[in-house]
Amino acid sequence: MTSIAIPRPAYAERPWILDWLTTVDHKKLGILYLYTTMFFFAVGGILALLVRAQLAVADNTFVNNDAYNQIFTMHASAMLFLFIIPVWAGFGNYIVPLQIGAADMAFPRINALSFWLIPPAGLLMFSGFLFGGASDVGWTAYSPLARSSGVGLDLWIISVIILGVSSTIGAANFMVTMFRMRAPGMTMFRMPIFCWTMLVTAVLQLLATPVLASGLAMLYIDRNFGGSFFDPNGGGNAILWQNIFWFYSHPAVYIMILPGMGIISEILPVFARKPLFGYKAFVFATMGIGGLGFSVWAHHMFTTGAVLKPWFGFMTFMIGVPTGVKMFNWLGTLWRGSITFEAPMLFALGFLSMFLIGGINGTFSAAVPVDFAIHDTYFVVAHIHYVLFGGAVFAVFAGLYYWFPKIWGRRLDERLARIHFALQFIGFNLAFFPMHLLGLDGMPRRIATYSESSGWETLNLISTIGAFLIGVAMIPFIINVVMAFLRPKDQPNDPWEGNTLEWWTTSPPPVHNFDSLPEVHSERPLWDLRHGKAAH
């Protein structure tokens, strides 16, 4: 094995605070992304607990109506724009260059810009609380409501545009990195699955985010310069906003879930001791979801009556097909595997079961008549939380437990991880399963309270208890992380017997990532080495 002496760059000797503030190293930026997004996850989580506290009992006055509107709006906005979407950029930043055997991203300084746009945008969005109230029109900001809301919505618009710029330039960066910087021997069809999901995500971000930016610009012009884009009195069209918004925000739900699917597809083969079942089928299914993702946006708008319902209903059923293919990929991978249940695997299996429920109740909503009955009820809230919490957030934790030894050189404690998983899994189902029933019983989303005669109190109380249990589940996780940081770095290169190149280098990797690279003959070069399969 060759070992190359690489001269240490001068910035490595600067004071550490300056080093972190000016770094262009994809690993440090990845860590900054993870810290920042986990911070906003905590903020969004506290807002969620306020929502649940208000809804715990009927006719509650814990928060007033105006505050409630701001709280649920900022909960969704923080979770979607400041947590889920950028957290994948964080994982992608750290892991993608390592998995393809590159020394860094294609454009390290643009990478730093992508990150540094996020904290100010987050502060801007939340600064509404200081100026007469944050945005209070929901994360969807429909007109005409959005035309008359306060200054908090203007701050929200600017913040989301900035976050969109971050996400768009980040997408171009990921695409060039994966197209151009792969290790010798790594063809596109030998690229690890997580990279593939990040690549398709990047395509969606690059093409969908600017459309949202154009819509946000129109909303800003309507609100501040007397424009009529969404005002029928001036010849505009309120439904236009919904079309533009969902043209971005439906692909955005795949932006929020595809990298999570990628993480699961890295973890299942490692802990089942089998290669991923149907690698190419998985890649094509990912591309299929990406492509079809642009043709289903109006299923959010069936009840407007202004969209072609058979087309969008049919396409929405169609997009269930590639998702179903992936489910079989995962099950086929587990089939007769030598499964072990370490923390990453627990969360991956949690993803599998919860995302399945989210997929099924989503397909219900694709049927137009069913959607007319459950539109804007808590059934929809249950659906999005089963895919975005049961899916994406479980995948975030799976990824954190899986790559923690690589990123920080320390292993998280398994017992605490199991407590975390059990509390989160039970709390999650307690919190969100009752919402299906509430929705079918007609409870509308976004209401600040409900009367005792509605009969919704018991299920809401169960949901609130579940939500607080999720909050409690974070305690063992935080203790686990803090205790890990108190221990010395002791992890070998490959603590899990991983398959992909990030496990070839040290934990954590050196600044330049690799001193050497093995030959790449498949999407799992380290597996090939262990099993003596030099040729594929």
Partner: protein, 203 residues
């Protein structure tokens, strides 16, 4: 086991920078796509175009007229198309190693871009409607305004190219930024041709 040294060799074809720049332009196309979509939806919603029936009596009394001047923007269009030719001549010059040609053509392109902007601002000052005067005014100023900002961005981009060529930074082998700049300027030009056709020619 065989092991490769870590290599960072350049691949053939488009450089990483150019590929990234083209992806950026793709995102710009989507941005303008959203604005154009808004315009066409407004037109398909309207009973007639310009939608004079939407004007309130107050707006009519204030002298609002939903009309645009054709010839001034037409001349501006000719100038912008010309500037696309001149920036390309600059690229051809530096490809042959002709630095003074690059400087000359870039300078001419900047002047043409600035004249376009001045004509656009003058045109705005002559119009009898504002951004708040029906969807007609809103779409007109939003579409041409965002395009104008892109022209300004392109002029600044060309200004940087001019400064760097004066500093002698470009050669026949190394002038990627010039090509990226020309791509951007052609993009701005194509958007304008689409805009001019949409706003001034389609009845």
């Amino acid at each position: 086991m065989a092991a490769h040294a870590v290599a960072t060799q350049e691949k053939q074809g488009l450089s990483n920078g150019m590929l990234g720049f083209i992806l950026f332009l793709a995102s710009e196309v989507m941005f303008f796509g959203g604005l154009f979509a808004a315009y066409f939806i407004a037109r398909s919603d309207a009973r007639e175009w310009p939608p004079v029936y939407l004007l309130t009596p107050e707006q009519v009394a204030a002298g609002v007229k939903l009309e645009v001047e054709f010839w001034l923007p037409f001349i501006a269009t000719i100038l912008l198309i010309t500037s696309s030719v001149t920036i390309q001549l600059g690229v051809f010059s530096i490809q042959r190693g002709n630095r003074s040609g690059l400087i000359r053509w870039t300078f001419i392109s900047i002047v043409l871009g600035l004249v376009f902007l001045v004509m656009q601002v003058y045109d705005y000052s002559q119009l009898h409607f504002g951004v708040g005067d029906t969807i007609y005014g809103t779409t007109f100023y939003t579409l041409t305004g965002f395009h104008g900002l892109h022209v300004l961005g392109g002029v600044i981009f060309m200004g940087i190219i001019l400064a760097r060529s004066l500093a002698g930074q470009f050669t026949a082998a190394n002038h990627e930024a010039v090509e990226a700049c020309s791509f951007y300027w052609h993009f701005v030009d194509v958007v304008w041709i689409a805009l001019f056709t949409t706003l001034y020619i389609i009845p």
